[in-house]
């Protein structure tokens, strides 16, 4: 294995480590604190725009563009435990690193992903956006509520919940490090949970 491959999170997964898991478990605990809320509407609007853009790109199935919103090493996490749980000891609905997310995109495009053939059509509404500071000056946590209307197999259904985005600012650019998607029915049986939420 070349050093380059070793560093490429599209090919290898060295960053999903104890430290990463512990950081997630700690970072996603007790972060929605009143004393950490960002009040400045201009700062908040910047994050709201990022979430709107993410929703639009996912609705449009523009996965490559969507992935540019994310840090090279990121986590897409849909817990099956209300509150998140500890992904080292519990299976999640989904716990993906970059490579696994790219697996999903690859699978959709094989032409043989029967759960998405034909693909779902979605529209997403993002609201109740609240922005929270963290102990790290360049890292922000954003809570948003979502409603996804998904048309698939002759019917439209609603998926809803809230998301917690951990977003880092680097060189003036916002990059999502982790997206935790909390479906309100995450611990119940889900019909065809195939789309990226």
């Amino acid at each position: 294995m070349t050093a380059k491959t070793k560093q490429d999170p599209s090919r290898t997964s060295y960053y999903v480590s104890d430290a990463l898991y512990q950081g997630l478990v700690d970072g996603y605990k007790d972060w929605q604190r009143e004393d950490m809320i960002v009040e400045d509407p201009r700062a908040c609007a910047r994050f709201h725009r990022l979430l709107d853009r993410e929703a639009r790109l996912l609705d449009q199935l523009k996965y490559e563009e969507w992935l540019t919103l994310y840090a090279p090493e990121f986590i897409y996490w849909v817990p099956s435990t209300p509150g998140g749980g500890d992904p080292r000891r519990e299976v999640a609905v989904t716990f993906d690193d970059r490579r696994r997310v790219e697996d999903r995109v690859f699978r959709f495009r094989t032409g043989y992903a029967w759960s998405q053939a034909p693909p779902s059509r979605t529209v997403r509404l993002i609201g109740n956006v609240e922005v929270f500071k963290t102990a790290q000056p360049n890292v922000t946590m954003v809570r948003s509520n979502f409603v996804i209307n998904e048309f698939w197999d002759n019917a439209t259904r609603t998926l809803s919940g809230w998301a917690g985005h951990r977003i880092a600012e680097q060189d003036g650019c916002l990059l999502i490090q982790c997206k935790q998607v909390n479906l309100i029915d995450c611990d119940q049986s889900l019909r065809n949970p195939s789309i990226i939420l």
Binding site: D18, R88, F95
Partner: protein, 456 residues
């Protein structure tokens, strides 16, 4: 005290000719599409045979409980104050209300939220509000909760039946115990612990899931997107279920029907017989390079065997009617209606049960094992479940009545039967479907004597 349950004419299926519906090579669409047949299954199958209820690790301590189901009957499965495992009907004897609406917890008693009747977790009525308004003796056992009269465990798997004439659980399982033992024994201490679940549901009959889980014929096509994805980097080692690609019937893997509706598919003979052989075919999962490197640095030559514990066990073990051990998952099939089913894939983790691995290594293995388990439900099972739903839709074609399960039929050279009556065939063969559906037919034609128990 046992109460024999009367046969309810309301629930009885119309007087079908079962030999017409279930033939040697095909079954009629009605066995999947008729609500009356489903209603009869809830007594003749999910009542009359040993049905999987829960895993002991879900209620490790006295007074722990989870809620569950026996067919459609809501249950509280609890370990009472003396440690006895009970499956209580979650139904107040007063007005029929469910007593407990939480999925798990710890409680010595349950109080009905409607009028406040309260029960010990043995099922015994503890008290009712204002008893002076009643002219009855509440010590009468008819006021105690109904419960499943026979509850037995096999190595942590809890089963229950309402049928007093059923054989012991051990005899019911019979030769399927051997693959279950193998599945457990590879883990430290020969045990696993349930840890949350990938929970799925589909709009289709429960038997579509049971037909599928040892079916080696669908793999290469239903899971084509998964297999292509697992091998997208084409780096020399074929991943996942790639061994199905060419002439799977010529490989050493096989399917075996062991009686009473149970069967298994064993893919272990396809693997390299060395420590690490299982890990080598694992597809790419989050954290695998980090943890593999860490474990190899720590354990040296012993790392490969440890990594195999995070790998998916290549067995599909199916215990009729509702339990499957698939990879490292415990899949439970929960019928909801004739056209709706929950397929709950409980994850399992290992414990440092015998102290040989040490807690740190076990934690690393589990961190990997959670991710390997999520792979198939996320990228594979969703395609199967879509196909199950589309079968149910296809069955709306009233005039096109038959579903075939005749692969391998009329080709006796494909099978052998051993001294225990276990039938072995090639992995893509539908022999297990033909055999289990024969058992289903026998049960549907029988007149089971079902009973519930109440504390004296």
């Amino acid at each position: 005290m046992l109460e024999k349950l009367p046969q309810s004419p309301v629930h009885a299926a119309p007087r079908y000719d079962w030999d017409e519906l279930v033939q040697e090579d095909r079954v009629h669409r009605l066995i999947y599409a008729d609500p009356a047949i489903f209603a009869q299954e809830m007594t003749h199958i999910f009542g009359a045979v040993w049905v999987y209820l829960a895993h002991e690790s879900q209620i490790p301590n006295n007074n722990d409980f989870i809620t569950g189901k026996l067919g459609l009957r809501p249950l509280i499965i609890t370990r009472d104050n003396d440690g006895k495992i009970r499956a209580l009907y979650n139904r107040c004897t007063h007005r029929g209300t469910t007593l407990c609406r939480w999925e798990k917890g710890n409680s010595k008693s349950f109080q009905c939220p409607y009028h406040g009747w309260s029960y010990l977790n043995t099922g015994k009525l503890r008290g009712v509000p204002w008893p002076d308004g009643y002219a009855v003796d509440f010590r009468d056992k008819k006021f105690n909760l109904a419960q499943v009269p026979r509850v037995e465990s096999y190595r942590g798997f809890i089963f229950g039946t309402l049928n007093m004439e059923a054989p012991s659980l051990s005899d019911y399982l019979g030769p399927i115990k051997k693959p279950i033992d193998d599945w457990l024994n590879r883990n430290p201490g020969g045990k696993v612990v349930v840890c949350e679940a990938n929970r799925l549901k589909f709009k289709g009959n429960w038997k579509l899931a049971y037909d599928n889980s040892a079916d080696g014929y669908h793999v290469i096509y239903s899971h084509r997107s998964l297999i292509e994805t697992e091998n997208r980097f084409n780096d020399g080692q074929e991943k996942g279920m790639s061994y199905y690609k060419n002439s799977p019937d010529k490989l050493e893997m096989y399917v075996a029907y062991t009686g009473n509706g149970h069967h298994y598919k064993d893919k272990r003979p396809n693997l390299e017989k060395r420590a690490g052989g299982l890990w080598a075919i694992e597809s790419l999962h989050p954290g695998m390079e980090h943890y593999a490197e860490k474990l190899r640095a720590k354990l040296g030559a012993k790392a490969e065997a440890a990594l195999d514990l995070a790998g998916s066990e290549p067995m599909n073990i199916n215990v009729f009617p509702n339990l499957s051990l698939l990879g490292n998952h415990i899949q439970v099939i929960e019928p909801v209606s004739f056209e709706e089913t929950n397929a709950v894939w409980y994850g399992t983790k290992i414990e440092d049960a015998d102290g040989t691995l040490g807690e740190d290594v076990v934690n690393d293995i589990n961190a990997l094992r959670m991710r390997t388990q999520e792979g198939f439900p996320n990228l594979g099972e969703v395609d199967d479940i879509t196909n199950f739903e589309q079968i149910q839709r296809g069955l709306a074609c009233l005039e096109d009545e038959w579903i075939y399960m005749n692969r391998g039929m009329g080709m006796p050279e494909r099978f052998r039967t051993d001294a225990d009556g276990v039938i072995y065939g090639p992995a893509t063969d539908e022999v297990f479907m033909r055999e289990y559906i024969k058992e289903w037919k026998r049960l549907m034609m029988a007149e089971p004597n079902l009973a519930v128990q109440r504390e004296p």
